[in-house]
Subunit: 130 residues, 2 copies
């Protein structure tokens, strides 16, 4: 099966997160996008997302590593629901390594110029229902 362009985009996004390349990370979001920082805590809009991403980098002592696989794309009406298994790991100073497996859910919109941008970033998936 041909690779969906959103698969490549998610791989590029992983690389940007792992390099702490905040401008490339922000380029993946639409202006009015929402990021679920943690269950019960959402931020909306690129300015708030920038602050949250910086806080996440600090929280993980700049050792965050994100790896997504089994990326599944369901498209409808210039919109896509993207599902992926995500492994989030970090080496926090003086503590045991942090490793978390998530089944993540993202929503992307195809803009008139053909670019896909993330409008809802919920790496926690349906665990928000717990």
């Amino acid at each position: 099966m041909e690779k969906h362009e959103l698969e490549s985009l998610l791989e590029q996004a992983d690389a940007a997160w792992n390099e702490e390349d905040i401008n490339s990370i922000l380029d993946t979001y639409d202006e009015d996008a929402t990021l679920v920082v943690q269950p019960g805590m959402n931020v909306r809009g690129k300015q708030q997302i920038r602050k949250a991403v910086e806080a996440i980098f600090n929280h993980f002592n700049h050792t965050l590593c994100v790896k997504q696989r089994d990326i599944t794309v369901i498209e409808g009406s210039e919109t896509a629901l993207v599902l992926a298994r995500a492994t989030i790991s970090a080496n926090q100073m003086g503590e045991a390594p942090f490793v978390q497996e998530r089944k993540s859910t993202y929503v992307y919109r195809k803009k008139p110029d053909g670019r896909w941008l993330c409008v809802v970033d919920n790496s926690y998936g349906v665990d928000l229902l717990s």
Copy 2:
């Protein structure tokens, strides 16, 4: 917390499914929406969704009952990721009753006239990754 209008829409959609009111069901979808009928089987566009919904009614011997709760809405850029616990039950003739619990994922788009329409209906949620 005030009830999100998408919560009311999902409750109305449940009622339409349970009454086999196919025109009201189709009114909840955008023209180019995608419905995940079962893992690995998607249909796209209202005409195909109509056929699939009729097939689902037949499959369950016209006893399908859908009930959604804990509806969680995450909005960004005129788009919403909606999560819900869904109970799907049916009394199939001569067989044990069918009951399935799902953690469902839906994507809605807000149209220029303010109406929300479903663009991706994936009641199986992240179970598609299994």
